[in-house]
C-alpha cells in the first residue's frame, strides 16, 4: 500500500507539471491583448502599457519568451508564491479567502446528495417499480436534464425572490442558511446521479446469492437490507461521491455567480472574463492538485471498502 501511494505521488508530480504547462500555454495563447483587456473599453495609455508589459514580462515574445515566463512562474510557484493577478492582488490571498466558502458549499451539496440521494436510492431499489420508484425516476431525469444555468436562476427567483423562503444571494461571509439554497442547487445533480447509482446497485444486490442465503437463514429484512445489501451497494456510490467532491471543490462557476458567493468558481469566472491570465493559471494550478489528491483518495478508498482489492 505504501509503495503504491508513493508511486502515485511521483506520478502526480509529472501530471502536475504537464497540466500546468498546458494550461499556461492555452491561457496565454488565446489572449489577444491582455493589457487592453485589462483596461476594458478605455484606450490604454503608453505609460500604462509600458508599465504592465515590463511587470508581466510581456515583452519577451515567441517560444523562448513563453518558456521564460513559464519557468519563471513555476519557480515562484514552487516557493509557494502564486504570483499577482493583473489587478495587482496576491493570488494566494485571493484563494485563501475564496476557499473556505467554496468548501462549505461543496460539503453542503455533498451532504444533500448523500442524505437524499442515497436514502431515496435505497428505498427505490427495495420497492422497485413502485410509485415511489417511478416518481423518483421522473424527477431525477428532470434534474439531470435541466442544466444548472437554468436551475439556479429559477430556484433563486421562486424560492428567493417570489416566496422569500431563502435569501436570494449569499454574499460574503454567508450564514449556513444562506448557503443552503445554492448548496441544494449545486448538489441536485450529484443527488440525482447518486440516487440512480444506489438504486441500481441495491436492486442488483437484492437478487444476489448471499441475500437469498441470509433470507433463508431467517434474518429479519431490515438487517439484510442495512447490513448486507447497503454495505455492498455503497461501493460505487462512495467512489462516485469521492470524485464528485473534487469536482465540487473546484468551485461551481455558475452557482457561485448566480448566488453571488465569492468562492473559487467566482474568481475563476472573473479571471476568464477579464483575461486575467495569471489569476486563471494560478487557480487552475491549485485545482489540478485538488483533483490529483481527490483521485488518489478515491483509489485508496477502494481498497478500504472492498477487501478483495489490493494495491502492491
Amino acid at each position: 500500500m505504501f509503495r503504491y501511494i508513493l508511486r502515485r505521488l511521483l506520478q502526480m508530480v509529472l501530471a502536475f507539471f504537464g497540466t500546468t504547462l498546458i494550461v499556461y500555454a492555452l491561457t496565454f495563447a488565446g489572449q489577444g491583448d491582455p493589457i487592453q483587456a485589462l483596461a476594458g473599453e478605455r484606450p490604454v495609455t503608453p505609460a500604462q502599457r509600458a508599465y504592465l508589459t515590463e511587470k508581466y514580462h510581456l515583452d519577451a515574445t515567441g517560444v523562448g519568451g513563453f518558456f521564460y515566463r513559464y519557468f519563471d512562474y513555476v519557480k515562484n510557484l514552487l516557493q509557494g508564491n502564486l504570483g499577482e493577478s493583473l489587478t495587482g492582488r496576491s493570488i494566494g490571498e485571493i484563494l485563501e479567502q475564496a476557499w473556505p466558502v467554496t468548501v462549505q458549499l461543496a460539503l453542503i451539496a455533498l451532504a444533500v446528495a448523500i442524505i437524499f440521494g442515497v436514502t431515496a436510492g435505497v428505498l427505490a431499489g427495495i420497492r422497485r417499480a413502485s410509485i415511489f420508484d417511478n416518481s423518483t425516476l421522473v424527477l431525477t431525469l428532470l434534474v439531470l436534464g435541466i442544466p444548472t444555468i437554468v436551475l439556479a436562476p429559477l430556484a433563486q427567483y421562486f424560492l428567493g425572490v417570489k416566496w422569500a423562503i431563502f435569501p436570494p444571494t449569499a454574499g460574503s461571509d454567508p450564514t449556513f442558511y444562506a448557503l443552503l439554497l445554492p448548496g441544494i442547487v449545486l448538489g441536485s445533480l450529484s443527488l440525482a446521479t447518486a440516487l440512480r447509482l444506489t438504486r441500481a446497485s441495491v436492486a442488483e444486490n437484492l437478487r444476489a446469492d448471499y441475500v437469498r442465503t441470509a433470507r433463508s437463514k431467517g434474518l429479519v429484512k431490515r438487517r439484510i437490507v442495512v447490513v448486507h445489501v447497503l454495505r455492498n451497494s455503497l461501493i460505487p456510490v462512495v467512489t462516485f461521491l469521492g470524485v464528485e467532491l473534487g469536482n465540487l471543490m473546484s468551485g461551481a462557476i455558475i452557482t457561485e455567480g448566480v448566488f453571488n458567493i465569492p468562492g473559487v468558481g467566482f474568481n475563476l469566472f472573473r479571471g476568464i472574463r477579464t483575461e486575467d491570465g495569471p489569476l486563471v493559471v494560478g487557480i487552475v494550478s491549485v485545482l489540478v492538485v485538488v483533483y490529483l489528491v481527490s483521485n488518489l483518495v478515491v483509489d485508496v478508498l477502494y481498497a478500504v471498502l472492498d477487501p478483495r482489492i489490493r494495491y502492491e
Binding site: 489577444g32 491583448d33 487592453q36 483587456a37 485589462l38 483596461a39 476594458g40 473599453e41 478605455r42 484606450p43 495609455t45 503608453p46 505609460a47 500604462q48 509600458a50 508599465y51 489587478t87 495587482g88 485571493i94 479567502q97 475564496a98 468548501v103 462549505q104 460539503l107 453542503i108 451532504a111 448523500i114 442524505i115 436562476p153 433563486q156 428567493g160 435569501p167 436570494p168 444571494t169 449569499a170 454574499g171 460574503s172 461571509d173 454567508p174 450564514t175 449556513f176 442558511y177 444562506a178 448557503l179 447490513v227 454495505r231 462512495v238 457561485e256 455567480g257 448566480v258 453571488n260 465569492p262 467566482f266 472573473r270 472574463r273 483575461e275 478508498l301 478500504v304 471498502l305 477487501p307
Partner: protein
C-alpha cells in the same frame, strides 16, 4: 467492524459540513443587511482605489464617498466649487486654486495645497503606471514625466503659494480646465498615503484615507464589500445616512434578485436581460435619469468602401433609431442624432440634419449613387449584450438598402480594437463613449480629432482639429461653445461615425431607501440618499 468504518466514511463529510456551518453562522454580514442601518449599494470589484488609478465606475463610486472633489456639477452641468474656495484664471493658462478652510483627512491631517500637488505628481509620473495619467497632459511639464526613465519627477506647472493656495500652469490656455477638476484623478492624497516622497505606501488602497463625507470602516474586503461610515468632521453637506456598504457583485442578475427582495438597497444599473420586466417587477422603485453614454457606429474611413461620406450618410438614413430604441431597448436608451451628449452645455438637437432622419427611399438612392459596398459588415464585441440591436440594424440595412448585411461578433472589445488598430478589415464597428467631465471637448477631442485617443477610425479633418483647439483656447465659455458647435457642424458634413443612441441611468432601489439620485457618471449620490422610514 467494517460496517462501522464505512459509516464513519459517509458520516465524516456530514460532520465537517455541520462544523463549518457552525463557523459560518457566527458572523452576520453580506446577506441581509436587515436590522443594521447600513445602506447597501451594488458595485463590481473595483480594480483600484487610488484616485489617480481609478477610471471605472465601481472604484469611482467608492472614491466619491471617501473624497470630496474640487468642483462638482450643478443641474446645468456647470462646475461649482466644493473643496475649492475659488478657481480663477485671467488668461485660462495660469489657474489659481484656493482651497476652502476646514477640510481634514480622515486621519486628522489638515488638507493643504501640497496634498494636491503630491497626488497629481504621483499620477502624472509615468513609471507609476497610473490609469489616469493622460488627464494631467495639459499641465506644463507633463512630457518630462513620461517614458521609461523620465527627466523629472514633478510637474513644473504646479506651484505652491501657501498652505491653501496653489497655481497650475498649463502648456496652453484651456477654457474647460475648471470643469475637468471634478474628475477623481484630481483628488488630493494625505501624507499618510506615501511611504517616501513620490512612493505610495503599500496597502494604502486597502483603506484609502480621503477628505470626503465618508471614511473607511475597516478595510476593503475583496470580492465581498467595502464599508464606510459618516465622517463627522466633514465641513461640507452632511450625508443623511450613517453607514454605507458597497456590496460587491460579480453578476448584475444576482444583484437584481436581491434588490427585488429588498436585500440590496440600490442597484445602479438594471441588467439588460431584466429590462423588459423591471418596470413591473419594481414599480416605482424603477427609475431613470440622464447620463453621458453615447453609442455610435464607426467606420474605417481609410477603407475605400466607406471613405465616401455619402455612403455613411446613406447607411445612417437607412437605420430606424426610434424603432430600435423602442423594441430592443424598451425605451431605456434614447435615439441619438447629434455627436455629443444632450446633457452638455452647448448640445443641439439633430445636428446630423437630414442624415439622421429615417428615410429608406432617399437612403437607397444616395447609397447607389455613392457606390456603397455590396455587403456591409458590422463588428461588435459579443460579451456586451450588443447582439440584439446589431441584428436589428443589420436587418434594417438589408431591407432598406437592398444590400447584404451581417453582424460579426468578436469575443471581446479588446479583440475588436486590436483588429481595428491593425487595420484588419472588420467593416463598420460599434463604439461607445462615456465622458470624464461635462464638456463638449471631452467628446470632440478624444473621438474625432486626428490624434484623439479613441479615434480608431482614422478620421482626420484639419479644419475640425483647428476649431476644437480654438475652442479650448477660447477666452469665454460662450466663445468656446460657439467654436465647438462649428466643429460639430463639420462632423455632420463628414459623418465619420453614425450616432445611434444616448444612454440613461436605469436603476432600481429597495423600499428601505428614498431620494436615490444618480449622477452623470453612473454614481449614486451618497449625500442625498436617505433611509425610507
Amino acid at each position: 467492524m467494517r460496517v462501522r468504518r464505512l459509516a464513519a466514511w459517509t458520516a465524516l463529510p456530514l460532520a465537517v459540513t455541520l462544523g463549518l456551518a457552525a463557523c459560518g453562522s457566527g458572523g452576520d454580514g453580506g446577506s441581509g443587511g436587515n436590522g443594521s442601518s447600513a445602506v447597501s449599494i451594488q458595485i463590481a470589484e473595483p480594480k483600484h482605489l487610488v484616485p489617480t488609478n481609478t477610471t471605472e465606475t465601481s472604484g469611482s463610486q467608492v472614491l466619491a464617498g471617501l473624497f470630496s472633489p474640487l468642483v462638482d456639477y450643478d443641474a446645468q452641468n456647470k462646475p461649482y466649487e466644493v473643496a475649492a474656495q475659488s478657481i480663477t484664471s485671467s488668461d485660462n493658462k495660469v489657474w489659481t486654486i484656493k482651497l476652502k478652510d476646514g477640510f481634514t483627512f480622515h486621519n486628522g491631517e489638515k488638507v493643504t495645497s501640497q496634498n494636491y500637488i503630491n497626488a497629481w505628481n504621483y499620477g502624472a509620473y509615468a513609471p507609476n503606471g497610473q490609469d489616469t495619467n493622460p488627464f494631467f497632459d495639459k499641465i506644463e511639464g507633463y512630457a518630462d514625466l513620461q517614458g521609461k526613465a523620465p527627466k523629472a519627477k514633478e510637474l513644473s506647472g504646479l506651484k505652491k503659494v501657501d498652505d491653501s493656495t496653489f497655481t497650475v500652469t498649463l502648456s496652453a490656455p484651456y477654457i474647460d480646465f475648471k470643469t475637468t477638476l471634478g474628475y477623481n484623478a484630481f483628488f488630493p492624497l494625505p501624507d499618510a498615503a506615501f511611504s517616501a516622497p513620490g512612493v505610495l505606501k503599500d496597502g494604502y488602497e486597502q483603506a484609502p484615507i480621503g477628505q470626503g463625507p465618508f471614511k473607511m470602516k475597516g478595510t476593503w474586503q475583496h470580492d465581498s464589500k467595502i464599508d464606510v461610515e459618516r465622517y463627522d468632521a466633514y465641513p461640507g453637506e452632511k450625508p443623511k445616512v450613517k453607514n454605507i456598504e458597497f456590496r460587491i457583485y460579480q453578476q448584475l442578475s444576482a444583484a437584481y434578485a436581491d434588490v427585488q427582495a429588498d436585500n440590496l438597497d440600490v442597484l445602479p444599473t438594471i441588467p439588460t436581460e431584466s429590462m423588459s420586466t423591471a418596470q413591473s417587477d419594481l414599480g416605482d422603485r424603477y427609475q431613470t435619469s440622464p447620463m453621458s453614454s453615447f453609442q455610435f457606429l464607426a467606420f474605417p474611413t481609410y477603407d475605400k468602401d466607406y471613405s465616401n461620406p455619402d455612403v455613411r450618410k446613406a447607411i445612417s438614413m437607412a437605420i430606424d433609431r426610434d424603432e430600435i430604441t423602442k423594441s430592443v431597448f424598451k425605451g431605456s436608451q434614447q435615439p441619438a442624432r447629434s455627436f455629443v451628449s444632450p446633457i452638455l452645455p452647448g448640445y443641439r438637437d439633430d445636428t446630423t440634419g437630414k442624415a439622421g432622419e429615417f428615410n429608406p427611399t432617399e437612403a437607397k438612392k444616395l447609397y447607389q449613387a455613392a457606390g456603397g459596398p455590396a455587403k456591409i459588415v458590422i463588428s461588435y464585441n459579443g460579451d456586451g449584450g450588443h447582439k440584439d440591436w446589431v441584428d436589428a440594424t443589420v436587418n434594417q440595412l438589408k431591407a432598406n438598402l437592398g444590400v447584404d448585411a451581417v453582424g460579426v461578433a468578436e469575443p471581446k472589445f479588446a479583440d475588436l480594437l486590436t483588429k481595428v488598430e491593425n487595420k484588419t478589415p472588420v467593416g463598420a464597428f460599434r463604439m461607445g463613449w462615456v465622458m470624464d467631465y461635462p464638456t463638449m471637448e471631452d467628446y470632440l477631442g478624444p473621438l474625432y480629432s486626428t490624434n484623439g485617443s479613441s479615434n480608431y477610425y482614422g478620421y482626420s479633418n484639419p479644419e475640425f482639429d483647428k476649431l476644437v483647439k480654438e475652442g479650448s483656447a477660447a477666452k469665454t465659455q460662450d466663445e468656446a461653445i460657439a467654436k465647438y458647435q462649428q466643429a460639430e457642424d463639420i462632423l455632420a458634413k463628414d459623418m465619420p461615425v453614425i450616432p445611434l443612441r444616448f444612454g440613461q441611468n436605469v436603476f432600481g432601489h429597495s423600499s428601505k431607501v428614498k431620494n436615490v439620485e444618480m449622477d452623470l457618471f453612473q454614481r449614486v449620490n451618497l449625500v442625498k440618499i436617505e433611509a425610507a422610514s
